[in-house]
Structures are given as structure tokens and as C-alpha cells.
């Protein structure tokens, strides 16, 4: 009988609905320094993923179907190893939603290209570092997380109108072109705007490496001219664009990342 007395109390305890909170996030603000670090890491992850595409071009374009190293965890292992080799540091910890989603998007872009990559009839698939970067940017930016990545270039060098720079990006590219700009230095702006709303913005310059010159360099760099006499060379590249005649190490464009402050300043993943 004694025990029965506690039943009402027991029932009350069990029926109280614990107020819901999303345990994935700490509700704190991020500092400019933390944000800059995050954006720096994301830019480098993006670059490493592009390099992996470049290294794998022979595999991508091969007319064989077994290419499992380009998908899922196998692909990310390559990105991580490339990141470590290129930047001489460990691949970033997956301690932020944006980094996790960027990795997920990298894998998804490869999955979305699986049919093309595995196509045994098409010799040139068109998945090159630039198109991968463009696809990755669009995919990641459409997640509705309040963060945008754009693989862009100065208007006179732009090939894909969907990657056109906005005013902030045009101005930042101009800074990169100034004589006293220290090469490979990114630009961070903690009081910028995106679509008229307060935003953190970060852009890292991209300089032409050998992987870019096959399309953006001179006729001598054009893969279509390989093993052909000079008289037969073309300045139209494999994508069908006129080559820009750019040089090794010259500024080609940049990776621009923008985070809307509204929303972002209210959460950070644990």
C-alpha cells in the first residue's frame, strides 16, 4: 500500500516532456578568428579535392568500368592524403557542420558523375578540376546552410556565366592583382555583405598550375595539340573555348566563401 502512494508522483515524472533542444549545437557566437580558420580549412579542402580530380584524370577518362577509388570513402582517403601532402598538415577535424557537409558534397558530386565516369564508350568525360569545382560549389551552396562557395574568376577570364563574380569578388580579385599583394594570401572580410545581408567573406587566390594550362595556357600546352606538328596546332581547347594564353603561376581566379551572419552566429556544432 505504501508503494502505491508514490504512483501519482511516478506518473507525473514519466509524463513530463523534457524540453527539446538540439544537442548537436552549442549556442554560442563564433569569433572572427575562428571563422577565418574555418574558411581557410574549407578552402584548402576544396583545393585538395580539385587536385585529386587532376591526378585521376587518366582513371576518370579510361574506358573501363571499375573505378571504385573515385567514390565514397576511397575518394575521401585520396582527398585527405592529398591535403596532407599539399599543405603539410593533417586533414581538418570534422568538428563543424560546414566541414562535414563539404565532405558529404564532395562525395555526392562524384556519385552524381558515376554514370559518366563509368561510361565505357566516352573517352573524354569532361570531369576536370574546374568543372568539379563548379559542381561542388553549386551543390554545397544549395544546401540552405547560409554558406556559399564559388569558384570564380575575373570577368575577362570567366568561362561559365553561372560562376560570375559579384562586386565584392571583382574587387577582391583586383586586390590579388596588385603588385604588393603577397602571393597565396587569402582575403578575409568580417564586415562584408552577401545579397545585402551582413556576411563573413573569404577569398583565396588560385594561380595557374600545370593542371590548368592545358585549357587556359598557350597552344603549346593544349592537350589536343600533343604529337601534332606546330602548323596544325589549335588555340581552341578540349572544352571548345579559345585558350587565354595564361602562364604558369599567373592569377586565374579564386575560391570565394561567404557565410551569412544571421543564423551562423547563433550556432556552432559541438
Amino acid at each position: 500500500m505504501k508503494t502505491l502512494k508514490f504512483i501519482p508522483l511516478f506518473l507525473i515524472i514519466m509524463t513530463v516532456d523534457v524540453s527539446w533542444s538540439d544537442s548537436r549545437y552549442n549556442y554560442i557566437s563564433e569569433s572572427d578568428t575562428e571563422t577565418k580558420q574555418l574558411l581557410n580549412e574549407m578552402s584548402k579542402m576544396f583545393k585538395a579535392a580539385q587536385v585529386v580530380i587532376f591526378k585521376n584524370l587518366p582513371v576518370i577518362n579510361a574506358t573501363t568500368s571499375n573505378k571504385e577509388n573515385l567514390f565514397g570513402d576511397n575518394y575521401m582517403k585520396q582527398v585527405e592524403a592529398t591535403y596532407q601532402a599539399k599543405f603539410k598538415e593533417s586533414f581538418p577535424k570534422m568538428d563543424h557542420l560546414f566541414k562535414k557537409q563539404l565532405v558529404a558534397s564532395m562525395v555526392e558530386v562524384m556519385d552524381e558523375n558515376r554514370t559518366l565516369i563509368s561510361d565505357t564508350d566516352i573517352k573524354f568525360k569532361g570531369l576536370i578540376p574546374a568543372t568539379y569545382a563548379s559542381q561542388l560549389s553549386h551543390k554545397f551552396s544549395n544546401l540552405g546552410l547560409g554558406i556559399k562557395i564559388k569558384f570564380t574568376a575575373a570577368p575577362d577570364l570567366l568561362r561559365n556565366q553561372f560562376n560570375a563574380p559579384d562586386t565584392w569578388e571583382v574587387n577582391t580579385i583586383s586586390k590579388f592583382q596588385e603588385k604588393d599583394w603577397v602571393k597565396n594570401t587569402a582575403y578575409f572580410d568580417a564586415s562584408a555583405k552577401l545579397y545585402g545581408k551582413p556576411a563573413f567573406r573569404y577569398m583565396t587566390p588560385l594561380y595557374h598550375s600545370n593542371m590548368c594550362l592545358g585549357c587556359h595556357g598557350a597552344a603549346a600546352d593544349n592537350v589536343l595539340n600533343k604529337n601534332k606538328p606546330e602548323a596544325e596546332w589549335t588555340t581552341i581547347d578540349i572544352a571548345g573555348f579559345p585558350m587565354e594564353g595564361q602562364l604558369l603561376g599567373e592569377l586565374g581566379g579564386g575560391i570565394s566563401i561567404s557565410i551569412l551572419k544571421k543564423g551562423y552566429l547563433t550556432f556552432k556544432e559541438k
Binding site: 508503494t3 506518473l11 554514370t115 551543390k139 544549395n142 544546401l143 546552410l145 553561372f162 571548345g240
Partner: protein
């Protein structure tokens, strides 16, 4: 003895182990979801059922025209509704999209163009499309000869005509679900995409669904997508 049994019974009843039946609205969205004698079928249905039943819960499927379905969702008679395009106004959705829509062009493999940003290459090409469809501006402005195809099953007929070289290319609103390894047409046709024109489709959620149930469903959805994206699931057919 009676007291002990009562306490144990109450304790078990208070645990949240009972299966919940989620009311899932399915929009007709070929090839992902089709109605067969009024019953929704397709990979979207399989995917969402697998997601919910794997968590020990049950699914009750509904299907109705979009307007009515949205009203039912708003009223709380449906818990979730899918697939819903990003352009649908006034609905709350899971953050992560179910899949994305990217329009593109399909070619016979020997004429394949991988870069649709090189729009100057379309000049003079005969590009078929289903009549009344919105065509990407970049294609409209390219100097291609755009040929509308009228009538029923225009997309299917267009692909056959492409195969018969009646067109140089055919515009498809979302070719990723056409050009995949399990579709025999992919032996002769390949497609490329206008990536900058992508839009998403989502799972819409009833505003009347409790936070707990909403978070449970969204968590299950994210978990499912991490294990296997809908795109991969679709392509496994």
C-alpha cells in the same frame, strides 16, 4: 506482488518503445513516384518506407493532388509530404534536399558535349525539347535551333528521335534519372548538365508535427542519406 506488477507495467508503458504510424503524403513525380490504381509506388516510396520502418515505426501512405496534399499537410493530417520542389511556397522542409534537379542535354554518345558552358558550340544545332517546358536562358540565347515536340510522352518520344538522329541533342529537365547504368538507353545516349541551374526537391513537414517527431524524422532522414543518398538508391534499380 500486485504493486510490483503495476509499477513494472507503468514503467514499461512510459517508455517510448511503441511503434508510431507516420502519415506520409506522396506526390506523383515520375519516375520517382507514380500512382498505380491510386496507390503510390516508386523509389521515393521505397526510400521513405525503408527510412521509417528501419527505425521500428510504420508508414501510412497517402496520395492526392498537390493543392489538397498541401492543405492536408498544413492541417496536420499528413506528417510529411514528398517530393516537393524548392519553388513550392509556404512549406517547411527538412534542411537537406532529397535530390536535386539539374537540367541538361542528352546526346548520342558519338556527339557527346561534356561542357554546356561552351554555349557557342550549340549554334546551329537542332535541339529538341518537350513543348511548353521552361528552357534554360543560356540555351535559348545560344543560337541553337530549338524544336518543340508536342503531344503525350514527348520526353520518351524525343529520346527515340534523338537515337534516330532526328535531333543533335534533346533538352531534359533532369537527365540524371535517365542517364544511369540501369537504363538501357544509356548504352547509346549520354547527358551533360547545366549545373548552375540546379534546384532542389525536399521532404515537406507539417507545421503541426511535434518538435520531437519532426526531429526524429529529420534525424532518420539525415542518417539514411548519409548511409545511401537517394540518388544512389534510385540508381540501384
Amino acid at each position: 506482488m500486485l504493486n510490483t506488477t503495476l509499477i513494472i507495467t507503468l514503467f514499461l508503458l512510459s517508455l517510448n518503445v511503441s511503434a508510431y504510424e507516420y502519415r506520409v503524403g506522396i506526390m506523383e513525380y515520375p519516375p520517382h513516384a507514380v500512382l498505380k490504381k491510386g496507390v503510390p509506388e516508386g523509389r521515393v516510396v521505397d526510400y521513405i518506407q525503408a527510412m521509417i520502418t528501419s527505425q521500428g515505426h510504420q508508414v501510412h501512405l497517402f496520395s492526392s493532388p498537390i493543392k489538397r496534399a498541401l492543405t492536408q499537410l498544413e492541417a496536420g493530417n499528413l506528417d510529411i509530404l514528398l517530393p516537393i520542389e524548392a519553388s513550392t511556397k509556404g512549406v517547411s522542409t527538412f534542411t537537406k534536399p532529397l535530390f536535386k534537379l539539374v537540367p541538361g542535354l542528352c546526346f548520342k554518345k558519338q556527339n557527346f558535349l561534356p561542357f554546356l558552358s561552351a554555349t557557342h558550340r550549340f549554334k546551329g544545332m537542332r535541339i529538341g525539347h518537350t513543348d511548353g517546358i521552361d528552357i534554360a536562358k543560356t540555351l535559348n540565347d545560344s543560337g541553337a535551333k530549338l524544336i518543340p515536340l508536342k503531344g503525350k510522352f514527348a520526353l520518351e518520344r524525343g529520346m527515340k528521335m534523338l537515337g534516330a538522329a532526328r535531333y543533335d541533342a534533346f533538352y531534359h529537365p533532369n537527365p540524371i534519372f535517365l542517364y544511369h547504368k540501369n537504363n538501357p538507353i544509356s548504352k547509346t545516349i549520354a547527358c551533360s548538365y547545366f549545373h548552375g541551374l540546379s534546384s532542389n526537391t525536399y521532404v515537406a513537414v507539417s507545421p503541426r508535427l511535434s518538435n520531437k517527431n519532426r526531429d526524429f524524422l529529420e534525424g532518420a532522414f539525415n542518417e539514411m542519406m548519409e548511409k545511401e543518398s537517394y540518388l544512389n538508391f534510385f540508381n540501384e534499380l
